[in-house]
Amino acid sequence: MSVFSRLRQGDLHSLAAPYALDALDPDERRRFERHLAGCDRCAAEVRALSQDAVRLAWTTTSVAPPALRDRVLTAVRNTPQDPAPGQDAARSRAPHLPPHVWGTEPPPARPRAPRLRPLFAPLATATAAAALVVAALFGVQAAQTQDKLDAERAQAREIAHVLAAPDARASSDADTRGRGIGVIASASEGRAVVTLSGLDALPGGRVHQLWLMRPHAHPRSLGLFDGDTPLVASGLDRKATSLAVTVEPDGGSPQPTSQPVVQLALQSVGFGQ
Protein backbone atom coordinates (compact mmCIF):
# COMPACT_ATOMS: atom_id res chain seq x y z
CA MET A 1 0.00 0.00 0.00
CA SER A 2 1.46 3.31 -1.00
CA VAL A 3 1.89 6.30 1.20
CA PHE A 4 -0.58 8.09 -1.02
CA SER A 5 -3.48 5.79 -0.52
CA ARG A 6 -3.13 6.12 3.22
CA LEU A 7 -3.42 9.87 2.97
CA ARG A 8 -6.83 11.24 2.32
CA GLN A 9 -7.15 14.72 0.91
CA GLY A 10 -8.26 16.11 4.27
CA ASP A 11 -5.08 14.87 5.92
CA LEU A 12 -2.95 16.86 3.52
CA HIS A 13 -3.59 20.07 5.42
CA SER A 14 -1.99 18.61 8.51
CA LEU A 15 1.25 18.25 6.57
CA ALA A 16 1.84 22.01 6.43
CA ALA A 17 4.09 22.07 9.50
CA PRO A 18 6.12 18.96 8.55
CA TYR A 19 6.49 20.45 5.08
CA ALA A 20 7.77 23.74 6.48
CA LEU A 21 10.34 21.78 8.50
CA ASP A 22 11.35 19.70 5.45
CA ALA A 23 10.10 16.66 7.36
CA LEU A 24 8.23 14.95 4.52
CA ASP A 25 9.67 12.11 2.47
CA PRO A 26 10.05 12.89 -1.26
CA ASP A 27 6.74 11.31 -2.33
CA GLU A 28 4.74 13.14 0.30
CA ARG A 29 6.60 16.36 -0.45
CA ARG A 30 5.69 16.17 -4.14
CA ARG A 31 2.10 15.33 -3.34
CA PHE A 32 1.85 18.19 -0.88
CA GLU A 33 3.37 20.64 -3.35
CA ARG A 34 0.79 19.64 -5.93
CA HIS A 35 -1.88 20.27 -3.35
CA LEU A 36 -0.34 23.64 -2.45
CA ALA A 37 -0.47 24.80 -6.03
CA GLY A 38 -4.27 24.76 -5.91
CA CYS A 39 -4.87 25.81 -2.31
CA ASP A 40 -4.32 29.49 -1.54
CA ARG A 41 -5.14 29.09 2.12
CA CYS A 42 -2.53 26.35 2.53
CA ALA A 43 0.05 28.38 0.62
CA ALA A 44 -0.34 31.32 2.99
CA GLU A 45 -0.14 29.04 5.99
CA VAL A 46 2.92 27.21 4.71
CA ARG A 47 4.62 30.50 3.98
CA ALA A 48 4.08 31.64 7.56
CA LEU A 49 5.23 28.32 9.03
CA SER A 50 8.28 28.31 6.77
CA GLN A 51 9.24 31.76 8.02
CA ASP A 52 9.01 30.37 11.56
CA ALA A 53 11.14 27.37 10.66
CA VAL A 54 13.83 29.55 9.11
CA ARG A 55 14.31 31.32 12.44
CA LEU A 56 15.64 28.05 13.78
CA ALA A 57 18.63 28.59 11.50
CA TRP A 58 19.62 31.63 13.52
CA THR A 59 21.14 29.37 16.14
CA THR A 60 23.45 27.59 13.74
CA THR A 61 25.36 30.42 12.09
CA SER A 62 29.02 29.61 11.70
CA VAL A 63 32.01 30.69 9.61
CA ALA A 64 32.42 29.14 6.17
CA PRO A 65 35.86 27.73 5.30
CA PRO A 66 37.89 30.28 3.26
CA ALA A 67 38.55 27.75 0.46
CA LEU A 68 34.81 27.49 -0.11
CA ARG A 69 34.70 31.12 -1.18
CA ASP A 70 37.31 30.60 -3.92
CA ARG A 71 35.53 27.57 -5.28
CA VAL A 72 32.11 29.19 -5.30
CA LEU A 73 33.31 32.42 -6.89
CA THR A 74 35.25 30.51 -9.55
CA ALA A 75 32.19 28.45 -10.36
CA VAL A 76 30.02 31.57 -10.45
CA ARG A 77 32.27 33.18 -13.03
CA ASN A 78 31.72 30.19 -15.27
CA THR A 79 28.03 29.51 -14.66
CA PRO A 80 25.17 31.20 -16.48
CA GLN A 81 22.04 32.13 -14.55
CA ASP A 82 18.55 30.77 -15.05
CA PRO A 83 16.20 32.95 -17.06
CA ALA A 84 13.76 35.03 -15.04
CA PRO A 85 10.21 33.68 -14.65
CA GLY A 86 8.06 34.26 -17.67
CA GLN A 87 10.54 32.47 -19.82
CA ASP A 88 10.29 28.73 -19.44
CA ALA A 89 13.58 27.88 -17.78
CA ALA A 90 13.35 24.18 -18.39
CA ARG A 91 12.56 24.39 -22.05
CA SER A 92 15.00 27.11 -22.94
CA ARG A 93 17.82 25.13 -21.38
CA ALA A 94 16.76 21.80 -22.75
CA PRO A 95 18.14 21.99 -26.29
CA HIS A 96 21.77 22.37 -25.31
CA LEU A 97 21.97 20.37 -22.11
CA PRO A 98 22.68 16.64 -21.94
CA PRO A 99 20.11 14.30 -20.40
CA HIS A 100 22.20 13.65 -17.32
CA VAL A 101 21.75 17.26 -16.29
CA TRP A 102 18.10 16.49 -15.89
CA GLY A 103 18.61 13.36 -13.83
CA THR A 104 15.58 11.12 -13.97
CA GLU A 105 13.14 13.93 -14.71
CA PRO A 106 13.45 15.20 -18.27
CA PRO A 107 11.96 18.61 -19.05
CA PRO A 108 8.42 18.57 -20.40
CA ALA A 109 8.29 17.87 -24.12
CA ARG A 110 5.62 20.46 -24.76
CA PRO A 111 4.36 23.52 -22.90
CA ARG A 112 2.02 22.82 -20.04
CA ALA A 113 -0.97 24.87 -19.03
CA PRO A 114 0.11 27.67 -16.71
CA ARG A 115 -0.42 26.92 -13.03
CA LEU A 116 0.71 28.23 -9.69
CA ARG A 117 4.27 27.21 -9.06
CA PRO A 118 5.13 25.52 -5.78
CA LEU A 119 6.18 27.83 -2.99
CA PHE A 120 9.73 26.56 -3.23
CA ALA A 121 10.84 25.32 -6.60
CA PRO A 122 12.26 21.81 -6.45
CA LEU A 123 16.03 21.73 -6.63
CA ALA A 124 18.21 19.98 -9.11
CA THR A 125 20.25 17.07 -7.80
CA ALA A 126 23.84 17.47 -6.69
CA THR A 127 25.13 15.78 -9.79
CA ALA A 128 22.99 17.99 -11.94
CA ALA A 129 24.51 21.08 -10.37
CA ALA A 130 28.00 19.83 -11.07
CA ALA A 131 27.13 18.72 -14.56
CA LEU A 132 25.49 22.04 -15.23
CA VAL A 133 28.72 23.89 -14.58
CA VAL A 134 30.44 21.66 -17.05
CA ALA A 135 27.67 21.91 -19.58
CA ALA A 136 27.64 25.66 -19.22
CA LEU A 137 31.37 25.91 -19.67
CA PHE A 138 31.61 23.55 -22.54
CA GLY A 139 28.24 23.19 -24.22
CA VAL A 140 28.04 19.42 -23.96
CA GLN A 141 25.83 17.91 -26.66
CA ALA A 142 22.77 15.81 -26.00
CA ALA A 143 23.18 12.07 -26.35
CA GLN A 144 21.07 10.00 -28.72
CA THR A 145 21.58 6.39 -27.76
CA GLN A 146 21.25 4.49 -24.50
CA ASP A 147 24.91 3.44 -24.67
CA LYS A 148 26.00 6.99 -25.08
CA LEU A 149 23.61 8.02 -22.34
CA ASP A 150 25.13 5.49 -19.95
CA ALA A 151 28.61 6.62 -20.91
CA GLU A 152 27.62 10.21 -20.27
CA ARG A 153 26.17 9.33 -16.91
CA ALA A 154 29.39 7.58 -15.93
CA GLN A 155 31.26 10.59 -17.15
CA ALA A 156 28.98 12.96 -15.25
CA ARG A 157 29.93 11.07 -12.11
CA GLU A 158 33.61 11.46 -12.98
CA ILE A 159 33.10 15.14 -13.59
CA ALA A 160 31.16 15.57 -10.36
CA HIS A 161 33.98 13.75 -8.57
CA VAL A 162 36.62 16.12 -9.93
CA LEU A 163 34.45 19.12 -9.18
CA ALA A 164 33.85 17.96 -5.62
CA ALA A 165 37.59 17.86 -4.83
CA PRO A 166 38.42 20.51 -2.22
CA ASP A 167 40.91 22.20 -4.53
CA ALA A 168 38.95 21.94 -7.79
CA ARG A 169 39.45 24.97 -10.04
CA ALA A 170 38.14 25.91 -13.44
CA SER A 171 39.86 27.75 -16.27
CA SER A 172 39.22 28.26 -19.96
CA ASP A 173 40.67 30.14 -22.88
CA ALA A 174 39.90 30.78 -26.53
CA ASP A 175 41.86 32.27 -29.42
CA THR A 176 40.69 35.02 -31.76
CA ARG A 177 39.15 32.42 -34.06
CA GLY A 178 36.94 31.19 -31.22
CA ARG A 179 38.81 27.92 -30.74
CA GLY A 180 38.55 27.19 -27.04
CA ILE A 181 39.69 24.78 -24.37
CA GLY A 182 38.29 24.51 -20.86
CA VAL A 183 39.41 22.58 -17.83
CA ILE A 184 38.20 21.75 -14.37
CA ALA A 185 41.13 20.30 -12.46
CA SER A 186 42.15 19.14 -9.01
CA ALA A 187 45.89 19.25 -8.38
CA SER A 188 45.59 17.12 -5.24
CA GLU A 189 43.83 14.36 -7.14
CA GLY A 190 45.81 14.85 -10.34
CA ARG A 191 42.59 14.75 -12.33
CA ALA A 192 41.06 17.06 -14.88
CA VAL A 193 38.02 17.31 -17.12
CA VAL A 194 38.93 18.89 -20.44
CA THR A 195 36.62 20.05 -23.21
CA LEU A 196 37.11 21.67 -26.59
CA SER A 197 34.89 24.12 -28.41
CA GLY A 198 34.85 25.85 -31.76
CA LEU A 199 37.47 23.63 -33.41
CA ASP A 200 37.29 22.96 -37.15
CA ALA A 201 35.68 19.66 -38.08
CA LEU A 202 38.33 17.02 -38.70
CA PRO A 203 38.73 15.13 -41.97
CA GLY A 204 38.27 11.35 -41.74
CA GLY A 205 41.12 9.46 -40.14
CA ARG A 206 42.19 12.32 -37.88
CA VAL A 207 41.59 12.88 -34.16
CA HIS A 208 42.25 15.52 -31.54
CA GLN A 209 44.82 14.31 -29.03
CA LEU A 210 45.39 15.90 -25.61
CA TRP A 211 48.93 16.38 -24.27
CA LEU A 212 50.30 17.24 -20.87
CA MET A 213 53.28 19.60 -21.09
CA ARG A 214 55.92 19.50 -18.35
CA PRO A 215 59.28 21.28 -18.01
CA HIS A 216 62.28 19.31 -19.29
CA ALA A 217 60.12 16.40 -20.41
CA HIS A 218 58.43 15.14 -23.53
CA PRO A 219 54.72 15.80 -23.87
CA ARG A 220 52.66 12.98 -22.37
CA SER A 221 49.44 11.83 -24.06
CA LEU A 222 46.32 12.19 -21.91
CA GLY A 223 44.02 10.60 -24.45
CA LEU A 224 41.97 11.16 -27.59
CA PHE A 225 38.83 13.25 -27.84
CA ASP A 226 35.65 11.58 -29.01
CA GLY A 227 33.79 14.36 -30.79
CA ASP A 228 32.44 16.95 -28.36
CA THR A 229 32.58 14.67 -25.35
CA PRO A 230 34.68 16.00 -22.45
CA LEU A 231 37.83 14.04 -21.75
CA VAL A 232 38.52 12.96 -18.17
CA ALA A 233 42.29 12.81 -17.60
CA SER A 234 44.03 11.37 -14.56
CA GLY A 235 47.59 11.05 -13.33
CA LEU A 236 48.44 14.72 -13.79
CA ASP A 237 51.53 15.61 -11.79
CA ARG A 238 51.89 18.95 -10.06
CA LYS A 239 54.82 20.01 -12.23
CA ALA A 240 52.60 20.11 -15.31
CA THR A 241 52.59 23.54 -16.89
CA SER A 242 50.02 23.37 -19.66
CA LEU A 243 47.68 21.32 -21.81
CA ALA A 244 47.90 21.20 -25.58
CA VAL A 245 45.75 19.67 -28.30
CA THR A 246 47.07 18.53 -31.66
CA VAL A 247 45.52 16.89 -34.72
CA GLU A 248 46.87 13.35 -35.08
CA PRO A 249 46.19 10.29 -37.23
CA ASP A 250 43.42 7.98 -36.02
CA GLY A 251 44.50 6.09 -32.93
CA GLY A 252 46.79 8.89 -31.80
CA SER A 253 50.57 9.32 -31.84
CA PRO A 254 53.25 8.54 -29.24
CA GLN A 255 54.48 12.15 -29.56
CA PRO A 256 52.85 15.18 -31.20
CA THR A 257 53.37 15.35 -34.98
CA SER A 258 51.88 18.83 -35.53
CA GLN A 259 51.60 22.24 -33.91
CA PRO A 260 48.98 22.59 -31.16
CA VAL A 261 45.59 23.94 -32.25
CA VAL A 262 44.78 25.09 -28.71
CA GLN A 263 46.75 25.38 -25.48
CA LEU A 264 45.94 26.21 -21.88
CA ALA A 265 48.27 27.10 -18.99
CA LEU A 266 47.56 25.16 -15.80
CA GLN A 267 48.99 27.55 -13.24
CA SER A 268 45.62 29.10 -12.41
CA VAL A 269 44.22 25.68 -11.57
CA GLY A 270 46.95 24.83 -9.07
CA PHE A 271 49.66 23.18 -11.17
CA GLY A 272 53.16 24.20 -12.24
CA GLN A 273 54.54 24.55 -8.72
Partner: protein, 182 residues
Protein backbone atom coordinates in the same frame (compact mmCIF):
# COMPACT_ATOMS: atom_id res chain seq x y z
CA UNK B 1 21.43 42.41 7.17
CA UNK B 2 18.09 41.21 5.88
CA UNK B 3 17.38 44.37 3.95
CA UNK B 4 20.89 44.36 2.61
CA UNK B 5 20.54 40.76 1.45
CA UNK B 6 17.28 41.61 -0.31
CA UNK B 7 18.90 44.47 -2.20
CA UNK B 8 21.98 42.48 -3.10
CA UNK B 9 19.92 39.58 -4.39
CA UNK B 10 18.17 41.91 -6.82
CA UNK B 11 21.57 42.98 -8.18
CA UNK B 12 22.73 39.37 -8.31
CA UNK B 13 19.60 38.49 -10.29
CA UNK B 14 20.84 40.96 -12.90
CA UNK B 15 24.13 39.07 -13.22
CA UNK B 16 26.23 41.33 -10.96
CA UNK B 17 29.17 39.21 -9.80
CA UNK B 18 30.50 41.87 -7.43
CA UNK B 19 27.12 41.95 -5.70
CA UNK B 20 27.32 38.18 -5.42
CA UNK B 21 30.64 38.50 -3.57
CA UNK B 22 28.99 40.86 -1.10
CA UNK B 23 25.99 38.57 -0.77
CA UNK B 24 28.37 35.67 -0.23
CA UNK B 25 30.00 37.54 2.65
CA UNK B 26 26.59 38.02 4.25
CA UNK B 27 25.07 34.60 3.82
CA UNK B 28 27.91 32.06 3.62
CA UNK B 29 28.16 31.85 7.42
CA UNK B 30 24.45 31.21 7.99
CA UNK B 31 24.30 28.80 5.04
CA UNK B 32 27.40 26.84 6.02
CA UNK B 33 26.42 26.77 9.71
CA UNK B 34 22.97 25.43 8.95
CA UNK B 35 24.22 22.82 6.51
CA UNK B 36 26.94 21.76 8.94
CA UNK B 37 24.40 21.38 11.72
CA UNK B 38 22.19 19.08 9.67
CA UNK B 39 24.78 17.18 7.62
CA UNK B 40 27.48 17.12 10.35
CA UNK B 41 30.21 15.53 8.21
CA UNK B 42 32.59 18.45 7.46
CA UNK B 43 33.55 17.43 3.91
CA UNK B 44 29.98 16.71 2.91
CA UNK B 45 28.84 19.95 4.51
CA UNK B 46 31.26 21.91 2.38
CA UNK B 47 30.02 20.12 -0.72
CA UNK B 48 26.39 20.87 0.05
CA UNK B 49 27.12 24.48 1.00
CA UNK B 50 28.97 24.91 -2.29
CA UNK B 51 26.01 23.54 -4.23
CA UNK B 52 23.61 25.81 -2.37
CA UNK B 53 25.67 28.94 -2.93
CA UNK B 54 26.08 28.16 -6.61
CA UNK B 55 22.36 27.44 -6.83
CA UNK B 56 21.81 30.85 -5.25
CA UNK B 57 23.68 32.45 -8.12
CA UNK B 58 21.93 30.41 -10.78
CA UNK B 59 18.42 30.81 -9.40
CA UNK B 60 18.64 34.45 -8.32
CA UNK B 61 16.63 35.65 -11.36
CA UNK B 62 13.78 33.39 -10.24
CA UNK B 63 13.61 34.87 -6.73
CA UNK B 64 10.30 36.59 -6.09
CA UNK B 65 10.63 39.29 -3.37
CA UNK B 66 6.86 39.18 -2.90
CA UNK B 67 7.14 35.73 -1.39
CA UNK B 68 9.48 36.48 1.46
CA UNK B 69 12.91 37.79 2.36
CA UNK B 70 16.06 36.85 0.49
CA UNK B 71 17.61 35.37 3.60
CA UNK B 72 14.59 33.14 4.22
CA UNK B 73 14.71 31.95 0.67
CA UNK B 74 18.41 31.18 0.82
CA UNK B 75 18.19 29.37 4.15
CA UNK B 76 15.16 27.41 2.98
CA UNK B 77 17.17 26.33 -0.04
CA UNK B 78 20.13 25.39 2.16
CA UNK B 79 17.98 23.47 4.61
CA UNK B 80 16.28 21.40 1.96
CA UNK B 81 19.56 20.49 0.31
CA UNK B 82 21.11 19.59 3.66
CA UNK B 83 18.16 17.43 4.64
CA UNK B 84 18.19 15.65 1.28
CA UNK B 85 21.90 14.93 1.68
CA UNK B 86 21.71 13.64 5.23
CA UNK B 87 18.79 11.38 4.32
CA UNK B 88 20.52 9.84 1.33
CA UNK B 89 23.63 9.38 3.46
CA UNK B 90 21.52 7.66 6.10
CA UNK B 91 19.82 5.49 3.52
CA UNK B 92 23.19 4.46 2.09
CA UNK B 93 25.05 4.10 5.36
CA UNK B 94 24.99 1.13 7.67
CA UNK B 95 22.84 1.13 10.73
CA UNK B 96 25.78 1.07 13.13
CA UNK B 97 27.28 4.08 11.45
CA UNK B 98 24.07 5.90 12.03
CA UNK B 99 23.95 4.84 15.65
CA UNK B 100 27.53 5.94 16.17
CA UNK B 101 26.83 9.33 14.73
CA UNK B 102 23.70 9.71 16.78
CA UNK B 103 25.58 8.84 19.96
CA UNK B 104 28.42 11.12 19.01
CA UNK B 105 26.37 14.11 18.09
CA UNK B 106 25.35 16.20 21.07
CA UNK B 107 21.78 17.12 21.83
CA UNK B 108 20.63 20.52 20.72
CA UNK B 109 21.25 22.17 24.07
CA UNK B 110 24.90 21.17 24.08
CA UNK B 111 25.85 22.18 20.57
CA UNK B 112 29.29 23.77 20.65
CA UNK B 113 29.35 27.46 19.99
CA UNK B 114 31.53 28.12 17.00
CA UNK B 115 30.99 31.83 16.81
CA UNK B 116 29.92 34.44 19.30
CA UNK B 117 26.34 34.12 20.40
CA UNK B 118 24.25 36.69 18.64
CA UNK B 119 21.20 38.30 20.12
CA UNK B 120 18.95 36.48 17.70
CA UNK B 121 20.53 33.15 18.50
CA UNK B 122 19.92 33.64 22.21
CA UNK B 123 16.40 34.77 21.58
CA UNK B 124 15.53 31.69 19.53
CA UNK B 125 17.07 29.44 22.16
CA UNK B 126 15.13 31.07 24.93
CA UNK B 127 11.94 30.68 22.95
CA UNK B 128 12.72 27.04 22.20
CA UNK B 129 13.08 26.52 25.95
CA UNK B 130 9.55 27.78 26.42
CA UNK B 131 8.05 25.06 24.24
CA UNK B 132 6.82 21.85 25.82
CA UNK B 133 9.36 19.04 25.64
CA UNK B 134 7.39 17.23 22.93
CA UNK B 135 6.96 20.35 20.85
CA UNK B 136 10.64 21.13 21.10
CA UNK B 137 11.77 17.60 20.31
CA UNK B 138 9.40 17.29 17.36
CA UNK B 139 10.61 20.55 15.87
CA UNK B 140 14.34 20.10 16.52
CA UNK B 141 14.56 16.45 15.44
CA UNK B 142 13.04 17.47 12.13
CA UNK B 143 14.83 20.77 11.54
CA UNK B 144 18.27 20.23 13.02
CA UNK B 145 18.58 16.48 12.50
CA UNK B 146 16.73 16.07 9.23
CA UNK B 147 14.29 13.38 10.33
CA UNK B 148 10.93 13.01 8.61
CA UNK B 149 7.86 13.36 10.81
CA UNK B 150 7.38 9.60 10.49
CA UNK B 151 10.87 9.02 11.86
CA UNK B 152 10.27 11.57 14.59
CA UNK B 153 7.08 9.74 15.57
CA UNK B 154 9.02 6.48 15.74
CA UNK B 155 11.80 7.95 17.81
CA UNK B 156 9.44 9.62 20.25
CA UNK B 157 6.99 6.68 20.21
CA UNK B 158 4.11 9.01 19.38
CA UNK B 159 1.23 8.67 16.90
CA UNK B 160 1.80 10.44 13.57
CA UNK B 161 -1.06 12.86 14.18
CA UNK B 162 0.40 13.92 17.51
CA UNK B 163 3.77 14.69 15.96
CA UNK B 164 2.22 16.77 13.19
CA UNK B 165 0.27 18.76 15.78
CA UNK B 166 3.32 19.23 18.02
CA UNK B 167 5.29 20.53 15.07
CA UNK B 168 2.62 23.02 14.18
CA UNK B 169 2.09 24.15 17.78
CA UNK B 170 5.84 24.38 18.32
CA UNK B 171 6.36 26.61 15.30
CA UNK B 172 3.36 28.77 16.17
CA UNK B 173 4.56 29.26 19.74
CA UNK B 174 8.00 30.09 18.50
CA UNK B 175 6.44 32.78 16.32
CA UNK B 176 4.51 34.25 19.25
CA UNK B 177 7.57 34.22 21.48
CA UNK B 178 9.79 35.85 18.88
CA UNK B 179 7.11 38.41 18.17
CA UNK B 180 8.32 41.27 16.05
CA UNK B 181 11.89 40.03 15.86
CA UNK B 182 11.55 39.08 12.23
Amino acid sequence: MRVEADELLVLVAGGDQKAFEDLYALVSGPVFGLVRRVVRDPAQSEEVAQEVLLELWRSAPRFDPGRGSALSWILTLAHRRAVDRVRSARAAGEREQREARRAHHPAFDQVAEEVEAGLEREWVRRCLDRLTALQRQSVTLAYYDGYTYREVAERLALPLGTVKTRMRDGLTRLRECLGGVA
